[in-house]
Amino acid sequence: MLEIHDIHKTFNAGSSNEVRSLQGVTLSLDEGSFVIVLGTNGSGKSTLLNAVAGSFITDQGSIAIDGQDVTTWPEHRRARYIGRVFQNPFSGTAPNLTIAENLTLASRRGQSRGLGWALSGAHTALLREAVSTLGMGLELRMDNLIGSLSGGQRQALTLLMSTLVKPRLLLLDEHTAALDPKSADQVIRITDRVVTRDRLTTMMVTHSMAQAVSLGDRLIMMHRGRIIQDLSGAEKRRLRPEDLLARFEEVRRADLLDESAAELLRRRYI
């Protein structure tokens, strides 16, 4: 379904703030799998999602979706395969357009946009029905500007928009991190329902250990631009938050060791 082969990405190459975000990531996703992506800050997990979505072109390696090589495709062209929800609840919706207008834009994801009316009566009715599945009462406010809604409502709508046309791949980038606990919980429940219902191939970045163990059928952990752990099947099902925390602690210790070793070398030779 998704084939990522040895991708590399370095930001600000050659300057003093060079960041090697991805250092050879290879990953293969099966149809219908739900992968949780975990990692420390700056480990490259969001960068990995952005690389797949086409926010930038990778320096090296290849990405294929459904057997189609998309390595050099710009973001908007890949959107025909990919649905996306961002960390920032404001990134996925246009604030000065109404709920209905935002949704109708999403209902043509990956299709051409011509001079037909964006909204017709029958189409609006369909969209209203889709919104009612969120159970937030937003179907009564189809003509309200999205900017007047809360972050949780906007994120739920973004999720709905990204799956309105069934995507081949759904990318969720810490999509509940900026929400209050109640909204986050609501959005996660909707996520679980939609992904299970449509059997969507999904990659979800998260910082929440609880989400990491309760959701998904596979888990990858990233560190310093590489995948350091890849669990699936029974291993993933047995996973508890404590195991993950322990693994993080291990990684942190290894990092400390690296730093102290570097310090030792610096003192001795410089």
């Binding site: 908007h76 604030p95 357009l97 207008e101 964006a118 928009m161 990204s162």
Partner: protein, 314 residues
């Protein structure tokens, strides 16, 4: 009376420009200086075509198409080659200065003895009113030809406004509005934000060209300096209109841009009548736009700081 009709006519001609500026500045958030060049380009192209015997409609349509190309060029320079938005506009505007001089073959091109839209409208008006030169309007006599021109311009502005309103409710138009609102989102939904922006600038500059062409045909000459200050004048109209209407609905905002342009023109006419030195006009317009842009921020800051300073002094 004639002064009022003249101001209204020019106001409506400028309102087409204001609609163009509304598209670039408000919908795409793009301060597009290209319009300073395309107003003149529209005037120049339509003037030369008229002098070579084309009809006014053909002259206007061709002028609009060429100005759309200029706008698209700015869009491509900005989106494809990542040149800063202001600079992209300035580059094309500067280049257009020479182009315009070449098109006109000089810095001024009189249109005497040609039949622009104004003459056509005046003829039609006279025919309708049975050949009379003046009619009574609100107890004063008004020239039939001036009134006909005003009516023609009103019709054009209304058509442009209605077309834009319809366009921005189509799938393509809606995607354009979304691009200005949230370009990340529109990319994620599979539309090229670069393409949308380039197309939007083309439309915006086509309207600037239309405004320039109408102005040249109305006043009877094209001049190299016609476009100077047009972005700021357009902005002033848009801002005035928004203040007048106080709504965020698309239809209201489009009408607001037109009303703003007319009001702005009337204010200018009154100020000139009262004795304002015409040389100060651009200075005052710029100051007005600056105040309109900065005032909301200053008021916010003032509101935020007021309680705190009170505590400090206590």
């Amino acid at each position: 009376m004639n002064l009022l009709i003249g101001s209204l006519t020019i106001g409506l001609i400028v309102s087409v420009l204001a609609l163009g500026v509304y598209i670039s500045f408000r919908i795409f958030n793009f301060p597009d200086l290209t319009c300073e060049g395309t107003v003149t380009l529209g005037a120049a192209v339509s003037a030369v075509l008229l002098l070579n015997g084309s009809g006014p409609t053909v002259a206007i349509v061709v002028a609009m198409l060429i100005c759309a190309l200029a706008g698209a060029l700015t869009g491509v320079i900005h989106t494809r080659f990542k040149v800063n938005d202001l600079l992209a506009g300035i580059l094309v505007m500067t280049a257009l200065y020479s182009v315009n001089l070449h098109v006109m073959g000089g810095s001024n091109l009189p249109l005497a003895h040609t039949s622009g839209f104004a003459n056509a409208a005046a003829h039609l008006g006279k025919a309708v009113f049975g050949g009379r030169e003046t009619i009574e309007l609100l107890g004063r006599s008004a020239s039939v030809s001036d009134l006909s021109v005003l009516f023609a311009v009103l019709l054009i502005a209304a058509c442009v406004c209605a077309l834009l309103y319809a366009f921005f409710r189509t799938q393509l138009g809606l995607a354009m509005r979304a691009t200005g609102d949230n370009s990340q989102m529109i990319r994620a939904l599979g539309a090229s934000d670069s393409g949308m922006q380039t197309m939007g600038l083309a439309i915006s500059n086509a309207l600037c060209g239309l405004s320039g062409a109408l102005l040249a045909q109305y006043q009877g000459f094209a001049d190299i300096s016609m476009g100077i200050g047009s972005l700021v004048a357009g902005l002033a109209s848009v801002i005035l209109g928004e203040a007048l209407v106080g709504s965020r609905k698309l239809g209201h905002l489009l009408v607001a841009a037109i009303l703003g342009a007319i009001l702005f023109r009337l204010l200018v006419a009154v100020a000139l009548r009262v004795g304002l030195n015409p040389n100060d006009l651009k200075l005052i317009t710029a100051a007005f736009v600056l105040i309109a842009l900065v005032a909301p921020m200053l008021i916010r800051q003032w509101r935020k700081h007021k309680p705190r300073t009170g505590v400090r002094h206590a």
